[in-house]
Symmetry: C2
Subunit: 320 residues, 2 copies
């Protein structure tokens, strides 16, 4: 396995780490997934990422130091030159800065390039997925948080470095407290973390749900997208209500972004977006269309094509 | 007066028509303003625009047919090639299409170019006003409606033709009905038309206000920005409440747009924006900053520099 163009990609999420090895035809040769460790802070996360990457390389029959490089999509503020990641609020104990790039490069014996998780995912969809043949793309990544990525006129738009925070568009002025600290953000209703917090609050107030029972049965520390899906399958009322609440917020927030930017296509991705795209996408689209200013020209609305591996595939493009 | 580079600009608003004649150094040589006629539909508006332009030309000592051209900023959907304006919802009886460009060219004896009112205003600020030396600009035009204009990477961003509808970003999901028909838009709280409608509703419900008395004293058919200002000066409680409601909606909506786009500068313009910029701008800015995702890097927030004539000056750049 001496193909010099085999590369790695890691998608670092709030609940899971996804690592792949991929060739120059964008075919995935090996992969590995594990939960994001919640205990040992940034160090623990970096170690788990290196292990996942090694496992994916092993599955592909290649050493990590033979990879042309490893691209990483990370939450938080990413300094892509230095590989330092700061303020990754959806990761455990990651409020400061951490030299993730250097740490991984040491562990893996190859160069590592880090990008924003949502930026690399939207780049992946734009180059290889649902954004192909489009000039302007609004990516909506519905997972632990709700991230956004913008392609405008064929180029990623980053603003002064922090553009794309669609999850923090205000959909209910003075509404629910968001994990970011502000009030009424779309993510305060639709982010997986905020949904779980609301579910726990309701349980504490005496409401019934199967959500946490399913969570324990499946030995999960959190309400993952799979848990939400099982609860919906079992007609759990609280799960239905909270998902509907999320859908309404997503519809309003996406419509707001479309009214401002008028893109050709909206791509729904992320852990929840990919899992629920087929089932709930039509309802999100309907809610979005209701709030469009120009009802006659809705954008195309579609689910991310690269699926679960989209983040890791997009990340790998950083070292292509 | 045979300077070939003297040109005209018209700003067509929901309450007033502003016409100027301007030279190649962007010095205004003549101007004329009149209320937008509410009675005779698009025909009446076009006639009033031609009269205003003739008056501005007379003040500048030039015939309209000696102008290099006349640029017009218009609400509604503008087909800039044909000069046809459609669905100008904030203008009287203008739901269909009207050949405004051809009509004005006939009346004035010179070429006429029409652009979207907000686009030309933001272009004016970008080239000659508060947006100079900036690469990305979010223009917020607070008037009869609330319009938005985007400069991203040094270029206007129009999306598929309808970008910039910041007034129709949802700030209160399922909230007040907006003039556009949707619910909870920023404009439903902050647009001058919506504010007047709410004031009339409250009066009907028995609440007291000096707003309509001041309106009658000044012989105005509507609550213009000047009427609102006088009511604030007289500590009118309803005026204070409705202005505060507008400010809150503006703060939330502008923050949403900034979170999505991360521009260098936010420019507040429009009839209400220019009149109240100094008085209320700091409060709008404070409300905006409260809802920013990245509290450490707020954009510059400033009032349009070209003032009352900004729309007309920006429009004149269409025929520069």
């Amino acid at each position: 396995m001496s193909d010099e163009r085999v590369r790695g990609g890691i998608d670092l999420g709030g609940t899971k780490i996804e690592a792949i090895v991929i060739d120059s035809d964008h075919e995935v040769l090996g992969q590995s997934r594990r939960p994001t460790p919640q205990d040992n802070g940034a160090d623990g996360v970096a170690a788990a990422m290196a292990n996942a990457m090694s496992e994916a390389a092993e599955a592909a029959g290649v050493k990590t130091n033979a990879l042309t490089g490893v691209g990483v999509g990370s939450p938080g503020q990413v300094a892509s030159d230095s590989g330092v990641v700061s303020n990754a609020k959806n990761l455990p104990d990651w409020n400061g800065s951490f030299p993730l790039g250097a740490r991984l490069a040491d562990a893996l014996g190859t160069r590592v390039k880090i990008g924003n998780d949502v930026s690399v995912a939207v780049a992946g969809e734009y180059e290889l997925g649902a954004g192909r043949n489009h000039d302007s793309v609004l990516g909506v990544f519905w997972g632990t948080g709700v991230g956004g990525g913008l392609i405008l006129g064929g180029r990623q738009w980053h603003g002064r470095g922090s553009a794309g925070e669609i999850g923090h568009m205000v959909v209910v002025r003075n509404g629910e407290r968001c994990p970011c600290g502000n009030k009424g953000c779309m993510e305060a209703y639709a982010g997986r973390a905020a949904m779980e917090k609301e579910a726990r609050k309701r349980v504490k107030a005496g409401e019934k749900t199967k959500l946490f029972k399913i969570m324990e049965e499946h030995d999960r520390p959190r309400l993952t997208s799979g848990i939400w899906e099982r609860a919906l399958d079992q007609d759990d009322k609280m799960a239905q209500e909270l998902i509907e609440r999320a859908i309404k917020a997503l519809g309003a927030g996406i419509a707001s972004a479309v009214n401002l930017l008028d893109p050709e296509v909206v791509i729904l991705g992320g852990g929840l977006g990919v899992r629920f795209g087929e089932r709930l996408g039509p309802e999100i689209r309907k809610r979005m269309e209701r709030n469009l200013f120009d009802h006659n020209h809705p954008p195309k609305f579609t689910v991310a094509e690269l699926g679960d591996l989209g983040g890791a595939i997009g990340a790998s493009l950083l070292v292509e």
